[in-house]
Amino acid sequence: MVDQAVIREKAKEIVSREDVKHLVGWRKGTFGYRVSPHWVETPEDAEKLIFSPLCSPNLTTYLTLEEKLPLPKGEEPDRRKTALLVKGCDSRAAVQLLTEQGIEKEQVLILGVPCRGVIDQRKLEEKFPEALGGVEAEWDGDKIRLRFPEGEKEIAREELLAGNCLNCRYPNPVWAEEILGDEVEPWSDGKAPGVEELEKASPDDRWAFWEKEFSRCLRCYSCRNVCPMCYCEDCILDRLNPTWVYRSVNYSENTAFHIARAFHLVGRCVGCGECERVCPAGIPLGKLNQKMVEEVRDKYGFEAGTDPESLPFQASYDPQDQEDFIL
C-alpha cells in the first residue's frame, strides 16, 4: 500500500528532472467515480495525482500510442524520458514491450506502485448504483472502503475486484526504477475463474457460449485500441488488401476477429484486463486471454512480461516443445 502523498512528492521530484518529459499517472475523472489518465508536466500538476482501487487504466499503452511526427529538418528528436506509474500488471506490460523492442529502456522511467487489485466498474455499479454520483475508494486489508458523499461503506475485496485481479500473481511491479510503498502479498495461484468450467463443457456448449458472446460484438475495436500489446502501425484488421477479417458485423467475421485478436496475444497477454473493462458489450475477453495464458504457462513454462531478458514467446522455440498432436 502506498500513500498518495508519497506518489505526489515523488512525481514532483521526477518531473523537475532535466531528462524527464512528463509523468503519466491517474487523477479523478470528470464523471462519477471514473478515473482518467493524467499527464504531469509541471510540479503543480502533481497535486492532482491519485492512486486508489479505482485506478484501473493501464498507462503503459500511452508509451506506444504517443504520436511521433516527422521532424523539421535539422531538429533533434526529443530524447527525454516518459515517466510512468505502474501497477503489477502494467509493469509486466512494460517488460513485455521491452522484450519485443516496442520501447527502449532509455525511453522510460518506471515508478512501481504495489496494488491490491482494482475495482470492476460493472460490479461497482451493480452493487452501489449511487457510485455514479461520485465515490472515493481505498484498500483496507481484505476490504475495500468506499467513501460516498453520504457516508462510508465497506465491502469484501473479492466482491468488487475485477476478474483479472482475482487471479493476479504479480501484484507487485516486476520491473521498476523504484517501487513506492510496501510490497503486498500475492493472493492467487493464477487460475482464472470460469475458464476451467468452460474447458470441461462439451465443444457444442463452448461454441454456444462463444457464439452468443461474439454475436454481441460491435467491432468498435476498443479492445485492440486499449491493449498495451496492440501497437502495430499496420494492423491486419485495418488492412484491405488482403482482407483477413471483413468489416461486416456478423458472427463469422466477429469470431474470426476475436480468434485473431486472442492469437496475437498468445504469450504476450499480461492479463491487465483492459480489453474486458472497455468492452461496451461486456464480452468476457479475459476468459479467452486467460485460457491461453494458462496454456502457455502450463505447457511451455512461459509467462509474459516477467523477465526482461527473455525472447518473445512466439518468436522463439524450444526443440523439446510438445508435439503429441502431430501426425
Partner: protein, 143 residues
C-alpha cells in the same frame, strides 16, 4: 436423395518436404482420397494462423498443415516456430468450440510418399466424422 458428405480439406504443404512427399506419392501411383486441396507454401513456418481461419470461413471443412521433420527444415528452424504456433491455435480453436478433428498438422518428408497417404486418409476420416463445417462459415450468413 442425399449424397454422402465429401469433406473439403485445405492442406498447406511446405515446398521442400511435404510437397515433394505428396509429389512422390503421385509419381509412385499411390492411391489416396481426393478430398484434399493442396496449397504450396515455402515453409510450414509461413502458415499464418489466419490462413487456417480464413480457409474455414471460406468453406473448408478441415485444414492440414504439413512440414519437414524437426531438424530437416530447409530454413533450419521454420517448422519449430510452426509447431509452437500450431499447438496454440489448435488449443484456442478448441476452446472456442471448433472441433479439434478439423485441424491437423503432420511431418512428412520428401521420401515419405506412403506416410503422406496415411496422413491424408486419417485426416479425411477425421473430418468426415466431424461433418460439414457450419460454425462460422462466411456464406452461411445472409443479411
Amino acid at each position: 436423395m442425399s449424397e454422402p458428405f465429401e469433406p473439403n480439406i485445405v492442406a498447406f504443404l511446405c515446398n521442400w518436404c511435404s510437397y515433394a512427399g505428396a509429389d512422390l506419392a503421385g509419381t509412385s501411383r499411390v492411391k489416396y482420397s481426393s478430398n484434399i486441396k493442396i496449397i504450396r507454401v515455402m515453409c510450414s513456418g509461413r502458415v499464418n494462423p489466419l490462413f487456417v481461419m480464413n480457409a474455414l470461413q471460406q468453406g473448408a471443412d478441415g485444414v492440414l498443415i504439413s512440414g519437414c521433420h524437426p531438424g530437416d527444415c530447409h530454413y533450419l528452424e521454420g517448422n519449430m516456430y510452426a509447431r509452437r504456433r500450431f499447438g496454440l491455435i489448435k488449443e484456442l480453436m478448441e476452446f472456442v468450440g471448433v472441433d479439434p478433428r478439423r485441424i491437423h498438422m503432420s511431418w512428412v518428408s520428401a521420401s515419405e510418399g506412403g506416410k503422406w497417404k496415411d496422413v491424408v486418409e486419417k485426416v479425411v476420416e477425421d473430418v468426415r466424422e466431424a461433418g460439414p463445417f457450419e460454425q462460422f462459415k462466411r456464406d452461411k450468413i445472409n443479411w
